[in-house]
């Protein structure tokens, strides 16, 4: 299968661009999971909503230079606003409850957002055209490759570096890390942990919306895209380690590459291969490749 270097190279790029666009979404999920300890099934719905909001904003801003980019940022802001409302009115009352109730709460969100999308945008498949400047392919020496896909790779890396810097090098990031480690201790030091939870949820959801907006030109917008993406994000987060950003990056790379090369190795059964890997990782290292085992 590797005797065709051009094909291998293209599959490598396909894997990278898939992995990196998934990373943007999974990063938000793992952040929320690490800090709030909430398994947010609605994260995929936020991603879907981000894509649809981007579609409408692109339409609204047609003719404006850089319209797509403004729309993508607008999607992130819209999702942040929605997440803020959800957190303040409902989610924060559930932190102390059993995680089963949090799960059910996120299910309810999945259903409501699914209907909201159907109500607002209908059931037909929608697409967003590629932003100007990214319509063509780039000559990479041995092969041509769509430039927007390359941009997605780059964007994943930018988000990864940005988040790493935020979490590890800023004062706010230090609070996030502390909240992840020991909520009660942080609270007793006089830090408003509820606010950190809120900001984490808002930030993570904004990333989901942004990821959805960036994915919009590369995928078709349709109902049900949320249920698929959330499973992929869970795989990434599980492989990497719950709450670990580096782990999510590694998980996204593995998932992307396994997807593209799995097609060549075991055609038709690449999905099975991916789930199998998730199962194996959980059995051997339930805390993930880069996560740390929790003290019992």
């Amino acid at each position: 299968m590797f005797d065709n270097p051009m094909l291998t190279f293209i599959q490598l790029l396909n894997g990278l661009s898939l992995g990196m666009s998934l990373f943007v979404i999974a990063a938000g999920l793992t952040l929320i999971l690490g800090v709030l300890r909430v398994l947010n099934f609605a994260h995929g719905a936020f991603y879907m909503l981000g894509g649809y909001v981007c579609f409408s904003l692109v339409k609204l801003l047609s003719g404006v230079p850089g319209g797509f980019w403004l729309a993508a940022i607008g999607s992130a802001i819209a999702l942040a606003g929605m997440a803020y409302l959800i957190e303040r009115t409902m989610l924060r009352h559930l932190y102390e409850r059993d995680h089963l109730y949090q799960l059910l709460f996120t299910f309810a969100l999945v259903m409501i957002i699914g209907d909201l999308v159907r109500f607002t945008w209908g059931t037909q498949v929608l697409s967003v055209s590629l932003p100007p400047g990214f319509k063509g392919a780039v000559n990479l020496g041995i092969a041509y490759y769509p430039s927007y896909r390359l941009f997605l790779c780059l964007m994943g890396v930018i988000v990864a570096v940005g988040m790493w810097y935020f979490v590890n090098r800023t004062r706010a990031g230090r609070f996030v890390r502390a909240a992840r480690q020991d909520r009660e201790m942080l609270e007793s030091l006089g830090i408003n942990v509820g606010r950190i939870y809120m900001l984490t949820f808002v930030g993570g959801s904004a990333l989901a919306g942004f990821g959805g907006a960036l994915a919009a030109p590369a995928v078709a917008l349709s109902q049900g895209m949320d249920a698929e993406i959330i499973v992929q994000c869970f795989i990434i987060v599980i492989i990497g380690g719950l709450g670990s950003l580096g782990g999510a990056f590694l998980g996204a790379l593995i998932l992307g590459l396994l997807n593209s090369f799995g097609v060549m190795l075991v055609p038709n059964f690449e999905i099975v291969l991916i789930y199998l890997m998730m199962v194996v990782v959980l059995m051997i290292r339930p805390w993930g490749l880069l996560g740390k085992p929790e003290a019992q």
Binding site: H93, H99, L100, L103, A108, R118, V231, V279
Partner: protein
Amino acid sequence: MITQRNLILLGIVGAALLALPLIGSLFAIYLVNEILIFALFALSFNLLLGYGGLISFGHAAYFAIGAYACAVLLTTFGWPFFLAFGAAAVISAVCAAVIGYFCVKLTEIYFSMLTLAFAQLVWAVAFKWIAVTGGDTGFIGVAVPDWLDVPVRFYYFTIVVVALCAWIMWRIVNSAYGFTLVATRENRNRAEFIGVDVKRIQLVAFILAGTFAGVAGSLFTLFNHSVFVESAWWTQSAEVMIMSILGGVGTFLGPALGAATLLILDRFITEWTVYWPTFLAIILLAVLFFFPEGLMGFASKRKKKGE
């Protein structure tokens, strides 16, 4: 516990179920038949959630395994009906045993994650193993034997199977084993201190739950004459969880009541709006914030207040 009052209630429900075909509505028979199947599925799930405190996120896997096993054995291999029906339950049990063996090693969120991962694996296999399962198009045209292929007969068949399974589960949760399972839920450490092999107790619960889910899946196959790959997708696992919580996981029959409520609402609300999920979500939110013990818990609390 069975009080006289509950026994009378159960008798009334039972009599109503048996008498239902007398009203002659095929619609009612189909609806109640489906409710019975999902009631069994929800009851099996509650062995894990309600009695064992185990939040399984992949219970649909065993439902689907039972459903596909029954379809394949009956149709592809042409096995006699009762052999195929029994074997489907055994296959579900074996799969639950293998998967459960790995899952009970983990706790809490990791347990939920691994059950989800395995269920997705089952889904992926069903989706891609087209030669056996029919893949995306589903397994269509299950060879239901002629003697059973009459709505009223299948309805009574379902009643017998579901009642039998429910009775067995009732006996299980009221046995010494059942009390031990509750003890592992209440306090894992204390149960271990007094010498309970917690993992083994949990594994047995996992196998039992998987087996009864498989029976429900087989019934659903016979009911629909087909199986679709969606029956293993995570949303199906979510649905059974919602049914159980809605009815109340603290009681034996709560999940069955939840299944009935959900399916009846589904049927009637979808008549006049496509936005059924939003209604379901609102009901779910109401349960979460105002009636965390579900319908059954709410009812029994009110009764206590009145006494």
